[in-house]
Symmetry: C2
């Protein structure tokens, strides 16, 4: 049963999926001041890579990205955003594909003319989630699926190292324009909570006193007339994201000026 | 001669070009407080659209984008940047292609199974240039190639209206992180020059006194110890982009904090 499904995909997959185009996903996990990324080990590929797959002809790109992440990792309902498309010659996932290995693993042979063995461009998506709440599960084509510390990232297969760099770069720019940290923080949070989140996502130390001033100047943060009591002499002010300003900025351009 | 070139492209183009993937370019032109966009009228398509084309299998994506713009419009050496990839079902350029019109115009018939008639995703690139210095020239496949006022944009073909919206959106976010205005201004400029540029690109009025403060706070602008003499009692201060800070920010994340 499993073999015939794979055989059908190898022979006829191009009817259901767009050839030459795939999606790869950089899924970042944040919890308690730590930043991780989700990696999978494909049965047919020796090293680690980002979860990825093909796009059905009936799917919008973001639907395809969500389905792929769900199928590959078991994680559902991520807010996935495009960051870049990769198409340099010879980047293709299966160009240097080991046909013997594939046959050993699946019992299916791949022809030279197969739709799977040709140049492929890949559309990169990224998302952030709380890794403490999401337990990844490998699918039938993967042996492992784990959260990996960004600081301990192994060399990845294909051009996936560059994908991680570009995903982080886009995330870091969008951090000042979209409510990206939104789901990673409680609705009302302290400056030290958002400070820790932004430090982890930006991968650098941020000045404790300048950082909130700039976020407030950009119109991202709103100071609330409320404090949180966390100890006898410790009751820091609470803040929230200014969602209205975000939405206005997204519609009309930025709030600067 | 022309016919056999087109025929060869229709029959065998998939050997040189990647099927299912195209590039479309939103090229913005700025001059003297006006913002325009470059549109072409393809010989085989009734309405206006963005200049676009296919990717050679030997090209990096940005090389393909530059070649396409040069071939289609005659404009060379643009700094093209990816903004988004479009792949919704039924967006394809040639899906509803009029085969009779194509035959009338070219003398070439297109088969049902042609690589040109199938779903296509398109990678959007954008660039900004000085429209007063660039005279677009249509290629053999286009009837017209003109600068169009953004405020007078006609309804575009396919999903190109959405492409313009998304290109502007990305440009407006990147305006605060990349030296995008760089080539549109003299090396040393006055606040009123950069104010006019940013107003045109953002498509809205910016407060004259708050605007430069925020750009300086973001680390984008540097005030020079120099003035420009433009009249008896008018000698505004000169500013420049802080290119070092940009480069550092691009490498390490943003300068905030």
């Amino acid at each position: 049963m499993e073999i015939s499904k794979i055989e059908d995909f190898v022979r006829n997959g191009y009817k259901e999926y767009l050839p030459h185009v795939s999606i790869d996903c950089a899924i970042f996990g944040y919890h308690d001041q730590q930043l991780k990324i989700l990696l999978i080990k494909h049965k047919l590929i020796l090293g680690w890579c980002l979860p990825g797959g093909y796009i059905k002809r009936t799917e919008r790109l973001v639907e395809a990205a969500n389905r792929i992440v769900k199928e590959r990792t078991g994680i559902d309902n991520l807010f996935l955003q495009q960051f870049k498309t990769f198409g340099d010659p010879n980047r293709s996932r299966f160009k240097e594909f080991d046909k013997e290995e594939f046959f050993k693993a699946t019992g299916v042979s791949i022809d030279k003319g197969s739709w799977l063995i040709d140049d492929t461009i890949s559309i990169g998506f990224y998302a952030i989630t709380d890794f403490s709440l999401t337990v990844p599960k490998p699918d039938v084509m993967s042996n492992e699926c784990v959260w990996c510390d960004l600081s301990e990232l192994p060399k990845l297969e294909f051009d996936h190292d560059q994908m991680v760099i570009d995903a982080l770069h886009t995330l870091r720019i969008q951090l000042y324009h979209y409510p990206i940290g939104y789901t990673m923080l409680p609705k009302k949070f302290t400056l030290s909570e958002i400070h820790a989140l932004y430090q982890a996502l930006l991968g650098k130390k941020l000045d404790v006193s300048n950082f909130p001033k700039k976020l407030i100047a950009l119109g991202l943060l709103k100071k609330l007339n409320e404090k949180r009591s966390i100890g006898p002499h410790r009751s820091p002010h609470l803040y929230c994201f200014d969602k209205k300003k975000y939405e206005k900025a997204l519609r009309e351009g930025l709030a600067l000026g």
